[in-house]
């Protein structure tokens, strides 16, 4: 069976980074000042205002800062309950996203890695979207 395309190919890729080849990588950026950020943008650096911004592949690994089970969600296209978390990537930036895997084990400090899960896009076509899950589960 053919692998579905990524839902948000501007934000991540299926291939890993040099440091974490097994985990889908995030597509961030780095400024000439050294500030590493996610996602990639070309408007200007939030730390120094510089515009010398280059793409930087970020490893799909980090530590859980916080998580919450969402029981009620006002938006369309996503049914509660689901679990969200904030993760500090090993490469620095903090991301907030959906959490997959063993939700009972979640606690701040837990090692988390990226994973691609099958979803449908707005038209119902199959896609793969990035999530974080506890490492080794």
């Amino acid at each position: 069976m053919e692998t579905p395309p990524l839902l948000k190919p501007g934000l991540y890729r299926a291939e890993g980074s040099a440091a974490r080849p097994g985990q889908p990588a995030l597509l961030g950026g780095v400024c000439a000042c050294g500030h590493v950020f996610f996602p990639l943008q070309a408007y200007g650096c939030e730390r120094c205002g510089g515009v010398d911004l280059q793409p930087r592949v970020l490893s799909g690994a980090g530590r859980l800062l916080a998580s919450a089970r969402v029981h009620l969600h006002p938006g369309k296209g996503r049914e509660a309950p689901f679990t969200v978390g904030s993760i500090r990537l090993d490469d620095g930036p903090i991301v907030r996203t959906l959490i997959e895997g063993d939700l009972g084990a979640l606690h701040p400090g837990l090692a988390m890695v990226t994973t691609l899960v099958p979803v449908a896009d707005a038209e119902g076509a199959p896609r793969l979207d990035l999530r974080f899950a506890p490492e080794g589960v």
């Binding site: 934000l11 978390g85 701040p108």
Partner: protein, 382 residues
């Protein structure tokens, strides 16, 4: 070096007025706003033609609602400006009215906040920089994550954090302008509809409508109208900041609150320990415990024990959100920051009835808004 408010001409709050915060109704925004403005004028003892400028705070109403409302007081031709700064719209409008009066460009200025629930679309989404799952994050989701981190950092339980709602619903029950006016037990609060993380519905600010108005005045302007300063409250400082990069980026609300409060207290020449009454942005329970620590009302990690000891109750060391706060009084957005100034003024006048903080002399109002932006004002009894 740029001037600070306190070094300019003294600025006072001379009148306050409200339309009760309530669930969405058929009442027009014009009705809501006029009720608050007429009440503020009556409270100050001023007639509308004496007002020289108007600041109209709103975040949800469409473009230019100001004159369409204010014309019903008599179209005097005064300048009207609309201020939108998310949840801090009312606070920002108040700051700019204070600056105008302090600078001597006007003697009597109106600040009014009015809003009705409308579909919301933060402009940040238009920047074209999408996150991994932006659609999964409502404001309460953001704060549920903060509550989880606060609990892990301090050892506080879900029940501990929910005690903020017990206090604020108790205060709101004594406020005739509050959206929720019912005391709630901890069991009732914890047993409510589950929202996210440990939050239940009564730990989250209700969405609603309403209006609040204050009159900002110079002494000269009041005297010209035959009014003395006996019921006036002085605005001692005004600070506004926006989010920077912080080491713990998830706690930007608290970090921003800390730096803005520090500026406002320093400009007023007072310390957090001097405060008798504080109105803060408690849209969700965890915010109050985070912010009382960030403001310096208690040491880091001590908010829950201090809350349990009654320090933030009316009658405690410093009454926090005696109005009921955003949790019980409500958060109609545009009016909220203006309403905080109204509550602090009422407290410092000693006119807050059965929710009066005894001997209140010094008060602080604090709002954060999506973006994030933050405003802190310090007010003192005359």
């Amino acid at each position: 070096m740029a001037a600070v408010l306190r070094n300019l001409r003294p600025v006072y709050v001379a009148g306050i007025g409200f339309h009760r915060y309530q669930f969405a109704s058929a009442t027009t925004y014009v009705d809501l706003g006029l009720t608050a403005v007429r009440a503020a004028l009556a409270d100050a003892g001023l007639a509308w033609p004496a007002i020289e400028s108007a600041y109209f705070a709103k975040a949800l109403l469409p473009m230019a609602p100001g004159r369409a409302m204010l014309r019903h007081l008599g179209a005097t031709g005064l300048p009207i400006v609309h201020v939108e700064n998310a949840s801090a719209s009312g606070s920002a409008a108040f700051r700019h009215a204070c600056m105008e009066v302090a600078a001597g460009l006007a003697d009597l200025s109106l600040v009014v906040g009015v809003d009705k629930p409308m579909p919301l679309a933060p402009a940040e989404r238009l920047a074209g920089i999408g996150g991994l799952a932006d659609d999964a994050f409502a404001p309460f989701t953001h704060f549920a994550l903060l509550a989880d981190a606060y609990a892990a950092r301090t050892g506080a339980s879900v029940e501990d954090i929910a005690l903020v709602a017990v206090k604020n619903h108790r205060n709101g029950a004594r406020n005739p302008f509050a959206q929720h006016q019912k005391e709630r037990s901890l069991e009732e609060i914890l047993g409510g509809r589950k929202i996210a993380g440990g939050f239940t519905s009564l730990q989250c600010t209700p969405v609603g409508e309403g209006a609040a108005a204050v009159i900002v005045a110079s002494e000269e302007g009041l005297r010209r109208q035959g009014i003395d300063l006996s019921r006036a409250v002085r605005v001692l400082s005004s600070a506004g900041r926006s989010q920077r990069l912080y080491e713990d980026a998830t706690r930007y609300d608290a970090m921003l609150t800390q730096e803005t409060t520090r500026i406002a207290l320093a400009e007023a020449g007072v310390s957090a320990a001097d405060l008798d009454v504080v109105e803060l942005h408690d849209a969700f329970t965890v915010e109050e415990v985070e912010y009382v620590e960030a403001m310096g009302l208690c040491p880091d990690g001590q908010a829950v024990p201090r809350l349990k000891a009654g320090e933030f109750d009316i009658g405690g060391r410093c009454a926090v959100s005696p109005s009921g706060g955003l949790i019980a009084m409500g958060h109609p957005i545009g009016p909220t920051g203006v309403g905080q100034i109204g509550e602090i003024t009422r407290q410092l006048r000693g006119e807050a009835g059965d929710r009066q903080q005894p001997d209140a002399r010094l008060g602080l109002a604090h709002m954060v808004g999506i973006g994030a932006v933050c405003y802190v004002h310090v007010l003192g009894a005359v």
